[in-house]
């Protein structure tokens, strides 16, 4: 069942059982499930107050044009910067678009021309008026090769041109060269920057906007004290429904143990990214159950182990399947992850209909793994205890980021399981910067990573299409003509249901080919102080616009 409907259902059930009592979910059930109780959405919103949020890492900048770190999206989207349309966070799990800076739009029958009608009377945080010129200037900046905007530029490769309509600055027309299902969504949800400031912003890196964004949203940037806090204040001139909160302050506290002590002292209204142990046990042990709600929410992401198909050991799908059979997904989930993560076998957002939920993770079955390895020709021919094939011993290196707590547990476990099977695995821990380089250059046998997305809709092209093995994110060099055909067909399929059907087919193919061992969909584990109202987790993180503070 979908997440955001649960409070509504609980409310409904309570209302049925006793009509005169205030509707309340059973005490403890919400805590157990990590969902916000219905009471969070009750009451008349009150204006005023400051909310203090714990942030676990400082973003590199507050500039979406030059930096692709997800934390920037979380801090800015729908809060400071706005786009022509935005994800409707009440529509879980599909998150259809709703109007924002555009009031409405039309799509031509050939799906190549998009016309956006923009809202009038919107002002930038510095008072300048907003118009279609800003949209056009933002696109121009993204396509400027001297700007570090590669991550956005790729989305607009097939955009032929974009301009305001003649004599009408409030109509923007974009023309594409070929139909692409993400083209509209990418353009509609692009954060818009002010044209009058972009003119003098150069490569953005040395512009004030790099750290002090100017947008049209319900909150305006206030201050960034490096290593300490980033704060935003209510935009009193906001065109839409004004925010209730006066200010939102993000305090940067990287150390989880210190963060938890500050939480105990009551210094946070919202605490992001608790450690699994803290969320599952410490909160209750510290007596915080009376003052906090626990929040567990699954964003689109998954952990995986990738097997480099350019290596002799992993070119055979039977070997890759065998790797799946030696990983006790359920056991690991319960012991290392405290049962919080969801097992997954799907590349897409697990709650969406792009996933075939009937594909269960392969069970722990070493005998089956041994049989598959034998079939693939990996036997211990020379009797040295290690399987080999055509003179190549099955000895490979598992590359991992030294920071990962989960992999530090998983890797030795995997090493031990493989040794029993006659396969030698070495573990190589490197720091993140080196990891990025080695993976980018395909210099690994096996490695583990997590893919995360800020939108539920995504194109698997960059990760699974064979053409992306060269310069793209297909680091394991998965090359499959059938998969290529499905991915290409889906790119030109604008009908959601039809496209999701293609993606489920792709999912079944990936399941059989096993280029990755899909592991888990990781939840965000957060805590919200009782008294914070109107807050709602979504794939787009927390919206702050409807949040208010109940009187203490």
């Amino acid at each position: 069942m979908s997440h955001s409907f649960r409070p509504a259902l609980a409310l409904l059930l309570a209302a049925c059982s006793s009509s005169h009592l205030p509707p309340r979910a059973p005490v403890g059930a919400d805590w157990q499930a990590g969902r916000l109780p219905a009471s969070v959405y009750e009451g008349e919103p009150r204006s005023g107050g400051t909310i203090v949020v714990r942030l676990d890492q400082e973003p590199p900048s507050l500039d979406k044009l030059t930096d692709s770190a997800l934390a920037i999206d979380w801090l800015l989207e729908r809060k400071v910067l706005e786009s022509m349309a935005e994800l409707d966070t009440s529509k879980h799990p599909d998150y259809s678009l709703k109007p924002a800076l555009a009031t409405d739009w039309t799509v031509s029958p050939d799906q190549l021309t998009y016309t956006f009608h923009l809202r009038r009377g919107v002002r930038w945080h510095d008072g300048a008026p907003f118009s279609g010129k800003d949209v056009v200037a933002t696109l121009r900046k993204i396509r400027d090769p001297s700007v570090r905007a590669m991550h956005l530029r790729n989305n607009f490769e097939d955009l032929a041109d974009i301009a305001t309509a003649p004599g009408d600055d409030f109509t923007v027309v974009a023309r594409y060269r070929k139909p692409y299902f993400l083209a509209f969504r990418a353009l509609a949800t692009l954060s818009i920057y002010p044209a009058h400031l972009l003119e003098t912003a150069g490569d953005m890196l040395h512009s004030p906007m790099h750290r002090a964004p100017v947008g049209t949203g319900p909150f305006r940037f206030e201050e960034w004290k490096s290593g300490d806090r980033i704060s935003f204040a209510r935009n009193e001139q906001y065109w839409g429904k004004k925010a209730h909160l006066d200010r939102v302050v993000y305090r940067i506290v990287p150390d989880p143990a210190v963060g938890f002590q500050l939480l105990k002292k009551g210094e946070f209204d919202v605490y992001l990214q608790l450690q699994p142990q803290q969320w599952a046990r410490d909160l209750e042990a510290a007596g915080l159950k009376a003052s906090l709600h626990r929040v567990k929410f699954f964003n689109p992401n998954y952990n995986w182990i990738g097997w480099n198909e350019e290596r002799p050991y992993f070119s055979d799908p039977r070997v890759r399947q065998a790797m799946n059979y030696v990983i006790d997904t359920e056991g690991i989930r319960n012991s290392f992850l405290l049962g919080l993560d969801r097992p997954t076998t799907c590349h897409f957002y697990l709650d969406s209909s792009a996933c075939d939920r009937s594909l269960a993770p392969r069970p722990y079955d070493p005998a089956r793994a041994a049989k598959l390895l034998n079939e693939a020709g990996w036997r211990d021919h020379d009797g040295d205890g290690v399987r080999d094939k055509e003179g190549v011993p099955f000895r490979f290196t598992f590359l991992m980021n030294a920071d990962s707590v989960f992999l530090a547990k998983l890797a030795p476990y995997l090493q031990q399981e493989l040794r029993k099977l006659g396969v030698e695995m070495e573990i190589r821990k490197v720091d993140w910067a080196l990891f990025v380089q080695l993976v980018g250059e395909h210099r690994f046998d096996a490695m583990s990573l997590r893919w995360g997305n800020s939108d539920v809709v995504q194109d698997p092209y960059e990760i699974w299409h064979s053409s992306q093995a060269k310069d793209g994110s297909n680091f394991v060099s998965f090359k499959n003509a059938q998969a290529d055909a499905l991915i290409e067909e889906a790119r030109a399929t604008l009908d959601d249901a039809r496209r999701n059907e293609l993606y489920r087919k792709l999912g079944r193919l990936l399941y059989e080919e096993a280029p990755y061992t899909f592991l888990y969909n990781r939840p965000s584990l957060d805590a919200v102080r009782i008294g914070v109202r109107g807050i709602r987790p979504s794939v787009a993180w927390y919206d702050m616009q409807d949040v208010w503070l109940a009187r203490q």
Partner: protein
């Protein structure tokens, strides 16, 4: 004297250049990609990840030949510009000027406090080596020395959290008073100080022990001086020279910051700045921090030489002619 001093300063310039050249070579040769500071998104190019990395490197000037890169950096330095951070585009000078005061705010009181406590311990221990006080104090300072700082810091945080002592940052929200600032400094300074007690006190102790065996101490005792006069007036002044050496060596370490303490107590100083720059392969920031540390090391050595000259008439800046 002034001329000699000027010469010493001039002699430091080539050494500093050598330091920066070696540092630049190491920083540029380090494997890893500056794109790392984008997090997991670094590997998601929307279709052109590796091409994106190449373009990024070109924009950041990382593709330039090594010597050209160094010459460019040096040219900037001469104009008083340390370049801009890859991470947030801000001038490195601004970043250093934000981080250095925080580090000094921790390091100077900690240095002062460390000597204030360690010198008496060293004197007492050295005056009667092997005695009850010596054994007790030695055990205590070694026990402190062996405690891992991360553990101590977290224990202090846990202990202080329930007692109203601030545990994070430099100031409470909206409080600008000096008292509030000092309260915030209590725990980090305690953390930075306890370990240095052993080092300083043991140094002083061993030179005290050596001095106490000298002829002039026997003479002083033979004159019938009280034991405290023997220790404080005769043995101690001669032992202090070793502390000057130590002081010269610790001066640069003070400004390089303390990564763990800064992280746990949320004090963004030089340690955090340098550590983040290493992880993110932020070449300009790293070079700025290394140049600063190199210059301070050289100054530290010079200062301790000057202190020697002041403390000991046998040593002078002039040196001996061959």
């Amino acid at each position: 004297m002034t001329l000699k001093l000027a010469r010493r300063f001039a002699g430091m310039v080539p050494i500093l250049l050598g330091i920066t050249l070696v540092a630049f070579a190491v920083v540029r040769a380090a494997p890893g990609d500056a794109l790392a500071l984008q997090g997991e998104a670094a590997l998601r190019g929307g279709g052109a990840t590796v091409a994106q990395m190449r373009e990024y490197r070109r924009l950041m000037g990382l593709d330039d030949p090594f010597l050209l890169g160094y010459a460019r950096w040096l040219g900037q330095l001469i104009r008083g510009d340390l370049g801009h951070s890859f991470r947030d585009g801000r001038p490195v000078l601004v970043l250093l000027s934000e981080a250095l005061p925080v580090t000094l705010l921790l390091a100077l009181p900690s240095l002062f406090l460390g000597y204030l406590l360690a010198v008496p311990i060293g004197i007492v221990s050295g005056a009667r080596p092997g005695g009850f006080l010596d054994r007790t104090l030695s055990r205590i300072v070694f026990l402190l020395y062996s405690l891992p700082i991360q553990w101590v810091a977290l224990m202090l945080v846990v202990a202080a959290a329930g007692r109203g002592l601030p545990i994070y940052g430099l100031r409470s929200e909206g409080n600008r008073s000096l008292g509030d600032l000092l309260l915030h400094l209590v725990l980090p300074i305690a953390c930075l100080t306890y370990g240095s007690l052993a080092v300083v006190s043991r140094y002083l102790r061993s030179s005290m022990v050596e001095a106490m065996g000298q002829d002039y101490v026997r003479t002083a005792r033979a004159k019938g001086l009280s034991e405290s006069a023997v220790v404080l007036k005769h043995a101690l002044p001669n032992s202090l020279l070793s502390l000057i050496t130590l002081f010269g060596l610790t001066l640069p370490a003070l400004t390089s910051g303390a990564v763990i303490v800064e992280r746990i107590f949320g004090l963004p100083g030089m340690g955090k700045l340098t550590f983040d720059a290493v992880l993110g392969r932020d070449v300009p920031v790293l070079m700025g921090a290394i140049t600063l540390a190199g210059a301070l090391t050289l100054i530290g050595i010079l200062v301790s030489d000057l202190l020697y000259a002041a403390a000991d008439p046998r040593i002078s800046l002039r040196g001996r002619r061959p």
